[in-house]
């Protein structure tokens, strides 16, 4: 039902833009596309979702293997730093669209492994995946956001290094 409503809105938006397109207003013709956030907003919201997902993975592992807290807390703290800075990049105008609801759960991945080494490997893989996901947005991001994404992605690569090293020492 919600999808129908969205589709109606899209159709309505397209119909509303039609006269402008016919009038040859190329610059305004973009209004005919479905209403969606500007590219930098969607890049930032996607990056926020990536961080929330990682934080959820850390939470799941900490709940399953509390003995890893000393190793994981510092890394988790840095993800909270990532999230805070990404959120600060988003300025939602008054009356603007609310942010997409976060996918802040660890679902969608295999359950957290019970052994310490396997749990560390699980998080290392999650860090690698997050680092790659952020880089995939590099082309669409405005310059300063691209630099922030690359820095956070590099930070996650270093986390994966730490987790992989810790897993080998267990």
């Amino acid at each position: 039902m919600a999808r129908d409503a969205t589709r109606r809105r899209v159709l309505a938006a397209a119909a509303a833009a039609l006269p402008l397109v016919l009038a040859g207003c190329k610059g305004i013709a973009a209004l005919g596309s479905p209403p969606k956030p500007a590219p930098d907003v969607s890049v930032a919201t996607d990056a926020i979702a990536v961080e929330q997902q990682l934080i959820a993975h850390y939470g799941a592992v900490l709940a399953a293997v509390p003995g890893l807290a000393a190793t994981l807390r510092p890394l988790l703290d840095q993800h909270h730093d990532h999230l805070a800075l990404l959120r600060a990049r988003l300025i939602v105008p008054h009356g603007g669209q609310p942010l997409p609801s976060p996918r802040a759960t660890a679902r969608g991945r295999a359950p957290v492994p019970g052994t310490t080494a396997a749990a560390l490997g699980y998080l290392r893989d999650a860090e690698d995946a997050a680092a790659a996901a952020l880089l995939a947005h590099l082309a669409a991001a405005p310059r300063s956001l691209a630099q922030l994404l690359a820095s956070i992605s590099a930070s996650e690569a270093t986390h994966a290094l730490v987790l992989g090293t810790a897993a080998r020492h267990r």
Binding site: D81, R143, A146, Q147, S153, A154, T158
Partner: protein, 169 residues
């Protein structure tokens, strides 16, 4: 500045950082032994290769690659292994920042190249530092101390600055 001019300036910035790293690793390696000396030597060679690659990229754009200085002013005296590790850390931090300069360009290929090299520098810096940073290469005030890594290279202080040419020009 034109897009081409911005690309050349960012590439020159990365090249200057690589030149300084080649010099700095030569100093650091002399004060290290064993596995850390081997790592310094590996990185020294890697930075010479990166320097040559950047020089070629600049030449391909019709720009004169910035020359290495004969000697560089180190950010702090290096008389032992601890300072040598700190120097290597600073060199990689500085490189990470320089390569993020390429990520700030409009050119997509240079963006991707910069991100890849920034990641490599961040990994080397983390190995030397023995801990990770939330925002490698970016001047973001730290909300909390760097995260400690277990079982990695010994930690070092976080001196600021980097080797600068002692005879500019």
């Amino acid at each position: 500045m034109t897009a081409a001019g911005a690309a050349v300036a960012a590439l020159q910035g990365a090249l200057a950082a690589e030149n300084s790293a080649v010099y700095g690793y030569g100093v650091a390696g002399a004060h290290l032994t064993g596995a850390r000396r081997a790592a310094a030597l590996r990185n020294w060679v890697a930075h010479q290769n990166a320097r040559d690659a950047l020089a070629a990229m600049l030449a391909a754009r019709g720009a004169q690659p910035v020359a290495a200085a004969a000697a560089y002013q180190l950010p702090f005296p290096v008389h032992g292994a601890g300072a040598a590790v700190s120097l290597a850390t600073v060199l990689e931090d500085r490189l990470c920042a320089a390569y993020l300069g390429l990520v700030g360009l409009a050119d997509q290929a240079l963006r991707a190249f910069g991100a890849r090299e920034a990641r490599t520098a961040a990994l080397r810096a983390a190995a030397w530092r023995g801990s990770t940073l939330a925002f490698p290469g970016l001047d973001v005030p730290a909300a909390r101390p760097p995260a400690r890594a277990s079982g990695s290279a010994p930690s070092s202080g976080r001196p600021h600055g980097s080797p600068t040419p002692s005879h500019p020009g």
